[in-house]
C-alpha cells in the first residue's frame, strides 16, 4: 500500500512516513509537506532505501506498536545503519529505545524495541496525573540541528511513559513534569532521533522542528 501526495512548494527532501497500521498519519504528513518535504506514506521497505529521511510515527501502546512494526524491524535498522535520518515521534520515539515498562522488560514475554538508542521507557510516578497531556516547555540540553530555534518554546505532549536513555548524552532536550524528563533524544551519530511530543500538533514550534528535520534530510 502506498499513497503519494504532492508537496505544497518545491520539495526540499523526500520523506517516507512509515505506515504500520497505527494512528492518524494525516497531520504529520500535512505538517511535513508544510515544512517543504515530498511525503510518501508507505509500508514498503524499498521506499525507505531511496528516501532522504524516514519518519516513524505512532500513538498507542508500546507492545502493539512494536508488534505491528515488527515485519519492518530489519528494514528500519538498515535505515539507521545507512545513516539516513530516522525520526521517531511519540510512540515512534519510544520504539527507538530497548524496552518499555509498558510491555514486559524481561522474560519470555519481553517486548524488544529497536535498541537504536539504548535505554528503557519508564512510567511517570504514582499519584501524578497521567497521561501527561498538554503544552509544556522544551529545555534544550545540547546542540542538535533538530532543535534550532525552539529552546524555551512549548510543545504538545500526550503520554504516560517517557524515555530514559542509558547514555546521558542521548538527551537533547528535557521537559519538566514534576521531574525533568528527556523530551528529545538522539543517538551518538545524531542521525536517529525522536521527540516525545507531537511536532505535528505543536503549532509553530512543531512546524519549526519539522522544517529542521527536512533540512537535516536535505543535507544528509
Amino acid at each position: 500500500m502506498s499513497t503519494a501526495s504532492s508537496p505544497q512548494a518545491q520539495s526540499l527532501a523526500s520523506v517516507v512516513v512509515v505506515d504500520y497500521g497505527l494512528g492518524n498519519l494525516r497531520s504529520v504528513t500535512r505538517g511535513l509537506e508544510r515544512a517543504g518535504a515530498d511525503v510518501e506514506i508507505t509500508d514498503d521497505p524499498a521506499a525507505f532505501a531511496t528516501a532522504d529521511g524516514v519518519v516513524l510515527p505512532g500513538v498507542g501502546a508500546f507492545r502493539e506498536g512494536v508488534e505491528n512494526a515488527d515485519p519492518l524491524r530489519e528494514d528500519l535498522l538498515e535505515v539507521a545503519e545507512s545513516g539516513t535520518p530516522l525520526f521517531g515521534i511519540c510512540l515512534g520515539m519510544q520504539m527507538l529505545l530497548t524496552t518499555s515498562e509498558e510491555g514486559d522488560t524481561d522474560g519470555e514475554s519481553a517486548v524488544q524495541g529497536l535498541d537504536l538508542i539504548p535505554g528503557t521507557n519508564v512510567r511517570f510516578a504514582e499519584g501524578q496525573k497521567v497521561p501527561h497531556m498538554g503544552w509544556n516547555e522544551l529545555h534544550v540540553q545540547r546542540e542538535h540541528p533538530l532543535v534550532d530555534g525552539v529552546d524555551g518554546n512549548y510543545a504538545y505532549f500526550v503520554h504516560s511513559y517517557y524515555a530514559a536513555p542509558d547514555d546521558e548524552h542521548a538527551t537533547v532536550a528535557t521537559t519538566d513534569y514534576e521531574r525533568e524528563f528527556p523530551s528529545i533524544v538522539a543517538n551518538e551519530a545524531g542521525t536517529v532521533f525522536g521527540t516525545q511530543f507531537h511536532p505535528e500538533k505543536s503549532g509553530e514550534t512543531g512546524l519549526q522542528i519539522l522544517r529542521n528535520f527536512v533540512e537535516i534530510c536535505a543535507d544528509a
Partner: protein, 271 residues
C-alpha cells in the same frame, strides 16, 4: 515551568439551510445563533493562541456526520494543534473514522453511558489518550445520589444526563467519572446543564468534585463568561483545561486576552 493550563474554544457545528457546515452557539443547550464558518473560525482561533479545538457535531444526522468529517479534514490540513471531535459517536468504527479524518481525540457522551464497553474497546484499539468521556451533569437536590457536595449551603449530587439535559439517567457523575477512568478514558470533559450558556461562571463544585475523584485530566466546560471565570476554574476547582464558546465566538474576549489575564495572575499558560 510546568504543564500549562489549556484554553480551548468549543465549536458546535450544525448544517445551515443549504446544508453547509456552520457554527451555532446556544444558551442552556437551546436558542442557537449562527456565529460563523467552522474552518475559518478554527484558523482565527489558532492565530489567537488556542491550545486545542473541540468540535461537536450537533446535527445528530448522517448528513451531519459526513459534513463533520469533511470539516475535520479541512481543519486538520490547516491547523497544527490538537482536535477533539464529538457528537453521535457510538461504535469503534465511528471512532476510527473520526480519527482517520484527522481528529486526535473523540469525545463520547451517550454512546458510553449506553454501552460502557465502548470506552474499554476504544482505549484498547486506539489508546487512552484519544478517548475523552464527556458528561452533561445536572445538580440534583434530592435523594438518589451517591456523593453529595455543598452548593450554596445546600447538599446536592450531580446526575449524568443525555440529550443535552433533556433526559436523566440516575447515574451519579462521580461514580461514572471513576468508572470511565478505570475503563481507560484519557480525559474527562465536564459540562454543566445548570451553567451552560449562562456566562456566570463554571460549576466550580462540580469541577472540583470530578478533579478530586480522578487522576486523568479534566476539561471544565459550561458557564464561562470572562477570563476571571477561567481563572477560578483553574485555581479553585483544579481543572486542567477550560473550554468556552460564546465569549470567544461573540468576540467578547479573545483567546489572547484571556491568556494574558491568566498569565498576569500567575496561571501557567502557553503564550
Amino acid at each position: 515551568m510546568v504543564l500549562t493550563k489549556r484554553v480551548i474554544p468549543c465549536i458546535d457545528v450544525d448544517l445551515d439551510e443549504d446544508g453547509n457546515p456552520a457554527v451555532y452557539t446556544g444558551v442552556n443547550f437551546e436558542d442557537l445563533q449562527y456565529t460563523g464558518d467552522p474552518v475559518e473560525m478554527a484558523k482565527a482561533y489558532n492565530e489567537s493562541g488556542a491550545d486545542e479545538f473541540v468540535f461537536l457535531d450537533i446535527t445528530a444526522s448522517a448528513e451531519g456526520r459526513e459534513t463533520m468529517l469533511d470539516v475535520v479534514e479541512r481543519v486538520a490540513d490547516e491547523v497544527f494543534i490538537p482536535l477533539t471531535v464529538g457528537g453521535g459517536i457510538r461504535t469503534t468504527a465511528d471512532i476510527k473514522e473520526t480519527l482517520r479524518a484527522g481528529a486526535d481525540k473523540v469525545s463520547i457522551t451517550t454512546g458510553a453511558l449506553e454501552r460502557p464497553e465502548l470506552i474499554t474497546e476504544g482505549a484498547r484499539a486506539f489508546g487512552n489518550q484519544c478517548i475523552v468521556i464527556s458528561v452533561d451533569a445536572r445538580r440534583r437536590f434530592d435523594e438518589g445520589g451517591e456523593h453529595y457536595v455543598e452548593v450554596d449551603g445546600e447538599s446536592c449530587w450531580f446526575e449524568c444526563t443525555k440529550k443535552g439535559g433533556r433526559e436523566g439517567t440516575g447515574i451519579d457523575v462521580l461514580e461514572w467519572a471513576a468508572e470511565a477512568e478505570s475503563r481507560g478514558a484519557g480525559e474527562l470533559f465536564v459540562n454543566s446543564i445548570d451553567k451552560d450558556g449562562t456566562k456566570d461562571g463554571y460549576d466550580l463544585a462540580l469541577t472540583e468534585a470530578v478533579c478530586d475523584t480522578v487522576d486523568t485530566p479534566v476539561i471544565a466546560s459550561s458557564g464561562c463568561g470572562s477570563p476571571e471565570d477561567m481563572y477560578d476554574v483553574f485555581t479553585e476547582a483544579g481543572a486542567d483545561a477550560g473550554l468556552a464558546a460564546s465569549i470567544f465566538h461573540f468576540d467578547e474576549y479573545s483567546i489572547a486576552e484571556t491568556k494574558a489575564y491568566l498569565d498576569e495572575h500567575g496561571v501557567p499558560v502557553r503564550i
